[in-house]
């Protein structure tokens, strides 16, 4: 057998191990996170206490478990969506928060809270609708912009569309009822998981799991979709339809998690970079790696959010802080490659 055939097989086997390890790590951190919090004291809840204390059992089952599951879904969705957007737009500098997706979702949710009511399905539906609108608008604007290359145009268009939606959210806050509606909207802008219940998790889980599954199954195709249209076509791909399918999955997952967590930024930008750096650019490994790293990252940020201070820190603040630091570190240690 020749060397070049043996090598990729061996490389694939070695590369699969870290993913298995990371899955194990995610499960371990998840289990530990169930015991981390401020009850009964600001430390770990001991297993003995959990076995004997009914209050602790209810706390873990009713509050921590749905919350942590949501945190994992949140991290996985934002990371996977970030990687999908980066690959489809051939642009390593985009993430849901940069393309008007998150801001659009926030606007849709705020609009729904004020004018249509705050039923979960309604808020989520409006969040998803405006998330799609935000992405579409950014894309059209980037196609029509007259300055710079594609990477720059898309980033600029995303900034402009995000700003429009932010202004819209500002206007909605201004007209909102300060006693009931305003706190709910403010929650969106900070991002947090403190109000997650089983009911909320149940409403988003089907959409999120389906979308994650679609992205996971399409992971090798993502490599093809990152190529020029003509090239992708010559390889038997229907670039338009397949991109629309994975984009729908990415935006659907983002809108769903953002509709219960609020705005959580930077995960979608930083985690895919980290995954590519550790596991290579091929999305067969990079996408599952991004999902695992994203889940782990969100879980750890939420642990910190719950325990660092006596009051809870909104998770969006932590992810932005840590994510931006990470990004700065990556920028100075190795050039982030941008073409076109």
């Amino acid at each position: 057998m020749n060397r070049s055939v043996v090598l990729p097989a061996r490389a694939a086997r070695i590369a699969e191990h870290p993913l298995a390890w990371m899955t194990g790590l995610l499960i371990l951190v998840f289990a530990l996170s169930l015991l981390v919090g401020r009850y009964p004291g600001p430390t770990l809840l001991s297993l003995d206490r959990l076995a004997s204390d009914e209050m602790a059992q209810r706390l873990v089952w009713n509050l921590r478990l749905p919350r942590l599951l949501t945190a994992v879904l949140l991290g996985m969705s934002l990371s996977a969506a970030g990687m999908v957007l980066q690959m489809i737009f051939g642009n390593p500098l985009v993430e849901p928060g940069f393309l008007g997706v998150s801001q659009g979702a926030a606007f849709g949710a705020a609009f729904s809270i004020i004018f249509l009511g705050n039923a979960a399905w309604l808020v989520q539906g409006m969040a998803a609708l405006f998330a799609f609108l935000g992405l579409t608008f950014s894309y059209i604007l980037a196609r029509r912009a007259r300055l710079g290359g594609w990477v720059l145009r898309l980033v600029l268009a995303g900034i402009a569309v995000s700003a429009l939606f932010s202004a819209g959210v500002g206007a909605l806050k201004y007209v909102a009822d300060p006693l009931h509606q305003l706190p709910e909207i403010t929650f969106w802008l900070l991002g947090g998981l403190w109000s997650i219940t089983w009911t909320q998790l149940q409403t988003i889980a089907p959409v999120v799991l389906l979308a994650l599954f679609v992205m996971y199954r399409m992971r090798w195709r993502l490599n093809l979709l990152s190529l020029d249209d003509t090239t992708a076509f010559s390889l038997g791909v229907a670039p338009g339809q397949e991109r629309a399918l994975v984009l729908t999955a990415a935006v659907g997952a983002t809108a769903a998690v953002v509709s219960v967590s609020g705005m959580v930024g930077w995960i979608g930008l930083v985690v895919p970079h980290l995954a590519r750096r550790c596991f290579g650019a091929d999305a067969r490994r990079a996408l599952p790696a991004a999902m695992l790293i994203g889940g782990l990252f969100a879980l750890l940020c939420d642990d910190a959010a719950r325990t660092l201070l006596a009051g809870e820190i909104p998770i969006g603040i932590l992810t932005s802080f840590v994510g931006a630091l990470f990004f700065i570190a990556m920028m100075v240690t190795k050039n982030i490659q941008v073409q076109r």
Binding site: V5, S234, G236, A238
Partner: protein, 257 residues
């Protein structure tokens, strides 16, 4: 005469609905096992012709046939199994390894959600070996030189195992050494009977590779036939609008400006 592998029948094409026609009343037949080179000035419609052959663009009137059947009757995957394109250059957005990139050529042979298997990896590795780059299989493609990248694009096309290879200015941007290397490889493929249709700006590349030559100007085929008959001073001068001399050196035609 056998069924042509590719045939253009009175094709008209323009990018804008009411704009200028890029190709006008173009008819052309490519026989299996031949190498056809298309020469012509910038804007003559050479790349457009390749994109029509690929099925990426559709003629406004007229038809394109692949192996006797209209292009529209083939699925995209089937088209990808019949034809492969080696583009002039390609934007490579991420740091794929060379082998991962060549493996993408297996896409038309896989079902929509299928992932490449061991057999596909072997075919990709062989394609990479045939262009002499197997030692670079694990390298990030973004770290390769322009010449090596062009060879990787050719390897990806070979991994498609196509019956027709479309090459868009394959030797543009290559230095003399890489040009000779690529020409050698393509000559080897031609000797194996691979059908090729290539565009080029260099008459010498056409002379080295092709058995048939097409001269295009302003969206029309001006001359088409065996290379030795078409590659003449008179035809080239008329096509490019400048005086060009074709001389014989060692029994081969050489273009002299």
């Amino acid at each position: 005469m056998s069924t042509p592998l590719l045939a253009f029948d009175r094709v008209h094409f323009g990018y804008q609905p009411d704009g200028r026609m890029v190709l006008r009343d173009l008819s052309l037949e490519i026989q299996p096992g031949t190498v056809t080179a298309i020469l012509g000035p910038n804007g003559a419609g050479k790349t457009t012709l390749l994109h029509l052959a690929l099925g990426w663009l559709s003629p406004r009137t007229g038809k394109v046939f692949l192996n006797g059947c209209p292009l529209g009757s083939y699925s995209r995957r089937a088209l990808g199994q019949w034809m492969a394109l080696v583009p002039q250059s390609e934007r490579i957005p991420f740091e794929y390894s060379v082998l991962e990139y060549v493996l993408l050529g297996r896409a038309p042979h896989l079902a929509p959600l299928e992932m490449p298997g061991v057999a596909d990896c072997r075919i990709a590795a062989q394609a990479l070996e045939s262009v002499g780059l197997d030692r670079l299989d694990g390298r990030a493609i973004t770290t390769l030189s322009g010449g090596e990248r062009q060879l990787v694009l050719l390897a990806r096309a070979l991994a498609q195992q196509p019956r027709l290879l479309l090459l868009d200015e394959p030797t543009a941007h290559l230095d003399l050494g890489n040009k000779a290397r690529l020409l050698g490889l393509l000559q080897g493929l031609a000797a194996q009977g691979v059908t090729m249709l290539l565009t080029t700006h260099e008459p010498q590349v056409a002379a080295a590779l092709a058995s048939r030559l097409v001269l295009m100007r302003e969206g029309q085929v001006r001359h088409h036939g065996p290379l030795e008959q078409v590659l003449t001073s008179e035809h080239l001068s008329a096509t490019y609008g400048v005086p060009v001399r074709v001389i014989q050196v060692d029994g081969k035609q050489v273009v002299w400006l």
